[in-house]
Amino acid sequence: MTGSTADVCVVACAEAWRGDGAILASPMGVIPALGARLARQTFAPDLLMTDGEAFLIDEAGKVEGWLPYRQVFTMVAAGRRHVMMGAAQIDRFGNQNISCIGDWARPKAQLLGVRGAPGNTVNHAVSYWVPRHSRRVFVEHVDMVCGVGYHRGSSGVRGSSPASQQSAPDLRVVVTNLAVLDFLTPDHAMRVRSVHPGVEVADVLNQTGFELVVPDDVPTSRAPSAAEFDLIRRLDPDGTRAKEVP
């Protein structure tokens, strides 16, 4: 079973939640949402998910709990959550921007705002989903640090004290249409974890605006199993996932 790019991405997103246990999975985007549901229906049955409003819904669609926004914030602060957010920009240490492009005082493009990214990244596990891997997204320096990465490089900021004062973020993976990346390097610089079927490491490097760490052996991202493939098609019979990737 090979699967389309979208299918491989769904599986890669699902893998982000493997081993998380009974925590709130908060996917942002069509493919991350399919990934979280695939994970819950297979290897991560304990995950909790909301209906996008205020209810926790199990895989049968049954309400199993109530989670209004104030309770979501409490789950965030309690660390019982793993979110997969988007990123308009992300740098080599995982600093992420969803707020605006250009000078913050008068942005060239106003985007979402910081939303919950600062709180998410200092409280619980965070992964990222980038449907179009490009140099516009993977940049040397982000214009506004929303999600906090492992280092600020030279541009320190108040409240960003040395490691003795502040616990490191827990950034898991960055899933893109080309590859899966992580931060499992001595200085937490971004690394190529796997490339999707048909993608060369060189393609990933070409589309990245900073130097990625490349291990000697870069595996190919795993394709969905036959059972996973069927499940993905059942979860997304209209194929909306294909529209999220180029």
């Binding site: 409003e53 209810f55 008068r106 200092v122 960003s160």
Partner: protein, 283 residues
Amino acid sequence: MLSGRVLTPDEVVRELSDGMTIGIGGWGSRRKPMALVRAILRSPLRDLTVVSYAGPDVGLLIASGQARRIVTGFASLDSIALEPHFRNGRQRGTVELTELDEGMLHWGLLAAAHRLPFLPIRAGLGSDVMRVNPELRTVRSPYPDTGHPGGEDLVAMPALRLDAALVHMNRADAVGNGQYLGPDPYFDDLFCLAAERAYVSCEEIVPALTGPPPSLLLNRAMVHAVTETPNGAHFTSCVPDYGRDEEFQRRYAKAAADPDDWRRFRAEYLDGDEASYQKAVRR
């Protein structure tokens, strides 16, 4: 609430004044006190600071030039990711912004509601929220713990004190108790407690509130006046009374993209009173 404080939306707005900091309840394009916002649009109020989990409430007050500063973590129409007037205002430099993490906003309201000067929170540490809000301070915990023998550094989120709060409920009674019947209270009780004066619009003023006890969100000690505004959250959602008017919201967002379209939209829907708005959106 003192008895006899059932007002019209215009009477509520006459109790507000220029330069006030006004908190608006709801979330994004959900259960917003839009009839009260529309009443502000018809008033000469100006130089407002608006604290909100922002949606079209904030967008309209930016478009009208009445909001000088927005305090928020986002401005969204939910089913349309970006609030178009907020985006325009930011890109044209016509509105100031205090950009906070969503959880920081909650904490600032909670601090104000509890009459505390600040509450400690981790959100914001290490992010550019600290850079773009140079007035924010950190505080060191006086209690050592294993991870932080010298005490943990935290953001001291200042209280977001409000001069007035505007929230929309499904039901209220004539003495100021308020009930939401949808899935989420959002932060409407905190907006009310954080404010000097809290104004509650509602779908219907009823003689007695019935329904699940947890739906009785606001009591009359939190509330200064009530106003009945049927369909008053339109075009945002007010479930179970009605959902978001997605078609109208699309028209709003499309009009916001072009100054001429927006002038026409204003003339058609916003320049008249609430009754003419309600008539126009039913056409």
